[in-house]
Subunit: 106 residues, 2 copies
DNA sequence: GATAAGTTTGGCTATTTTACCAATTAACCA
DNA sequence: TGGTTAATTGGTAAAATAGCCAAACTTATC
């Protein structure tokens, strides 16, 4: 595997890794509905605000969300709108797994 | 966030996490071209075979690939064919990031 | 200006992940 | 049978992640 291929894969992996956490998936789903401030997300998630803030920083560093300060609040929104389609395939992995489990019990 | 929502997000995150590594992305791309045995993948990747074997186990546990033993070799293939489409969106995150970097230099 | 609300950052600990090496298992073949 | 190739498993050390608390900072409000 050459250096260029590796760099490309690492760039992709960074983005995917940013999505690879249940809380961050939740955030992405909520931001797909509407932009939210940190406090709103924190209330929905039920973790410490500092934890949520760090998750948001991960998504921001990966280029998945952007932030905008308005007054004392910081609003986050999705930067790339296709992220949700992304999950269609994830669901099909789950679906196939579920079907095979079902077959195993027959 | 209720318990059912959390369980769904955790299931998704497990699959996404399995993809969140450059070597595993490489494996998925190769398996999209054709099924491969562990030795073939190991040669292409250039890591220890035990390392590659463990990456394959991660993908298998996530339900992304299946394996089949033939003689002394174990062949792996993609179980869910849409995985590659999945990357289209990842690329658009990279593309938008690249564009913004370009704008910043103007 | 003091206080409160919203957010981020630093520090710490616990957990998870990764990679390599060594050992083990399984299949092939000379 | 003994040696070789293919693959997995267990162990271990290093690095990365995740969560909470406390502290710092900014903006609004009184």
């Amino acid at each position: 595997m050459n250096i260029k291929t590796r760099a490309k894969l690492e760039a992709r992996a960074r983005i995917i890794k940013a999505l690879a956490h249940p809380t961050r998936l939740f955030i992405v789903e909520e931001l797909d509905k509407k932009e939210c401030c940190v406090r709103e997300l924190t209330e929905m998630i039920g973790a410490d605000m500092s934890t949520v803030s760090k998750h948001l920083a991960v998504l921001k560093n990966a280029g998945i969300v952007t932030d905008e300060k308005r007054g004392s609040q910081v609003f986050y929104k999705l930067r790339v709108l296709c992220i949700l389609k992304f999950f269609g395939c994830v669901e099909s992995v789950l679906r196939v797994s579920a079907e095979e489990q079902l077959e195993a019990t027959r």
